[in-house]
Structures are given as C-alpha cells and as structure tokens.
Symmetry: C2
Subunit: 215 residues, 2 copies
C-alpha cells in the first residue's frame, strides 16, 4: 500500500503551481470523488473540522470569482475550483456538535466524552473572537496541503490561490453572516501543454536554510 521515498519525491517535484490549465482535460469523476474524500478526511485540531469546502461548478460564479482574483484564468479554466472557508467562530455549540458526532461514531454515550469536551473547552475559552477565527483559518491550510499532495499523487495539477479578494468571494458566494468566510482557494485540473511554468526549475531555499537539527 505504501510508496517508496523515491516515488514520493518524484511526485512532490512534479507538482508546481499550475498557471495555465487545459480546459479540455477534466478530472474524472472517480478521481474527483477521491479528492473530495481527502478533504473530508483532513485532520484538524481536536477533530473539530471548522470548515466548509465549496466546489464551484457554476460558470457564472466562476467568472465572478475570477474577477475577484486579479483575473487569473485558473479560476475559470481549471477542471475544478474549490473555495476553502473557515468557521468565523468556535462556540460551545460547535464543540457539542463535534462531541456528539464523535460519540455516535464510537457508539458510546455523549456523557463518556465529557472529560474530553472539558479539555477542548478549556483550550478554546481563553481565545478571543479573532483568535478563534484565525485558528480555524490555519486549520484550513492543513486541508489545502493534503489536497495538493493528494492531487499530485493522482497526477492532477493544482494551483493554490491566496491572491484573491476574500471579502468579494464572501459576497459572491453568499457567505456573509453564514458563520463561514473564505480563507483560500485551489484550482485543480491538468496543466496545459504550453504552460511555461511547468518547465521552470523548482525554486526553493536549500535544506540548510529551512531545516535545523537540534542535536
């Protein structure tokens, strides 16, 4: 079931932020279903999953989002386009909902998880409203990372998009006062044969620059 370290590195080296997608090469339904499941299975702190993922299929919405994304063509040309949104708060109700889901999955009474619920509440309660939203925002980046890596393993290209206007996205997607707000987006599909970025050497700081071993 596992892959080799070599295969992992080939996959991670193969991926790049695709700027030009081939609109004629869609992601197959089976592949897309797996990528949606990779979003669902994303780990999160305490398991709280403080997010919703919007798969934007409607062409008019895609065109509006493109206008709110510095007119980057990935928004309309990629096979699939996901807007990752985070819960704007993290309330006792959110925690209670999650504890109920956890208890149901494990087939135990909710009361058995009261000690765990207290730990989570104790962690959340000192946080300001802004800190809760920021915390949820960070969680969605785990989903972004898992999504991009998962896609690369299937041979699917991605472009993570932070150069977007989140407030405009919220308006276009009807998220205002919904309890969720746009964090980041990701286009997915297959690179166009002439995307010049595909052949550029991958630019990264050296390992010495970004990794330290404390011995």
């Amino acid at each position: 079931m596992t892959i080799s370290p070599q295969q992992l590195l080939e996959t991670l080296s193969w991926r790049y932020a695709t700027k030009k997608f081939d609109p004629a090469k869609p992601i197959s339904p089976t592949e897309w279903a797996a990528l949606e499941t990779s979003l669902v299975l994303t780990p999160s702190s305490f398991g709280l999953q403080p997010w919703k993922f919007l798969v934007v299929e409607n062409p008019d919405l895609r065109a509006q989002l493109r206008a709110a994304s510095w007119n980057q063509p990935q928004v309309t040309d990629a096979s699939h386009f996901v807007v990752l949104t985070a819960r704007t708060t993290l309330s006792t109700e959110d925690i209670t909902e999650w504890i109920s889901c956890l208890a149901a999955t494990q087939g135990i009474p909710t009361e058995n998880l009261a000690p765990y619920q207290n730990i989570v509440e104790g962690f959340i309660q000192p946080l300001s409203a802004d800190a809760r939203h920021a915390w949820n925002n960070r969680q969605t980046y785990i989903a972004l990372g898992q999504l991009m890596t998962s896609a690369a393993l299937l041979g699917i290209d991605t472009c993570p998009m932070e150069g977007i206007d989140p407030a405009a996205y919220d308006r276009i997607l009807g998220l205002e006062n919904s309890g969720y707000a746009t964090t980041v987006a990701c286009a997915l599909g297959h690179r166009a044969a002439d995307d010049k970025y595909a052949t550029q050497p991958k630019a990264r700081y050296t390992a010495d620059r970004v990794i330290s071993h404390l011995r």
Copy 2:
C-alpha cells in the same frame, strides 16, 4: 508514478493521530531524508517559505518540550519530532532574499523579476505586523498537511500537536528574538502495537456537512 484513487483513500484512512509511538521502531534514514525534502518542497504563497523546521534530536530538549506539551508522551517517544516555526515578520529584506533565490534558480538577472517583486510587495505592504505573522503561521500548516500526508504514504505515523505552549517552546528552543516563533509541532514514527486509538473508527463529519456543490 501515480497511485490509484483507491490507494490514496486507503492511505488517508490508515493515518490517525498516533498517541502512543513504539520507541523501538525508528524511521529509516532514507525515509527521513524524503520527509525532510517534503518539508523543503512545501508550496507557499509567492514561494516565500516564511518558515524554519526544527528537528529536535536532543533527548534533554525533547524532555523539556514534553513538559511544555501537557506531558504528552509522543514528544519523547516518537522516532522524530519536528517543530514548525514561522517567520514573525515579512519584510522587504525577506522578499528580496527570495527574489534573489528565484533569479539564481532560473539563471536570470534579479532585475528581470522586478515586476514580480512589486506584486509581492504590493500584497504584503498593507498588512499589519500581526497580519504578517498570522499569514506566515498559516503557511506552515500547508507544510504540516504535506508532511502528514507524505508520511502516511511511506507507512509512517504522525501526531500533529497544537496542544503545546508555544511561548515555552520558543524559550526552550532559543527562538526568542530570532525572527521565528513556534507555530505547531509534529511527532513522527511508528504506532505502538497497543495504541488504542489505532482501532477506533475514524470520526469525521459527513461529506454533506462539509462540502457544498455550487451548481
């Protein structure tokens, strides 16, 4: 080189937040080297890589970090322990350093990238000091997501750790006034045969709850 959707889902379902590692089962050097490279290759906004990853090998430091992590045994018992830190600021110097690296990789004069540098500066400049740190913090979660997914593909267990005292981590690791601060940590190794969490059913909200299709 790619894997099947089925294999991806088996891998993502296999992983869980490992609470009890087997100290007698280290990660092999070849596997670890690949995981370090997966950190180096992590995508980031504009490619800025506003992070350092600390691989804590020193047992005394691991013991001190465990004390700053609610005494969770993963910190000392896992084969490897990584502290993901984010740059506390994002300055013109940071951007200039990155543009130089990019130009060198592409073998072009730095001046050719002036238009790109202006775009990046234009994006960063309106951000407050806190917003820059928060932005960098979010980027490190992409690394966390890619690291956990990469490890699972190699058959290596992980435990992401947010239940830590970041300020204490910064003191223990000598990060104060370094320009970097602790964001999150990740223990990696192999699950103990008796980790009871390994056999619990995976608890997640349903796809209907977290994914919406805008048609």
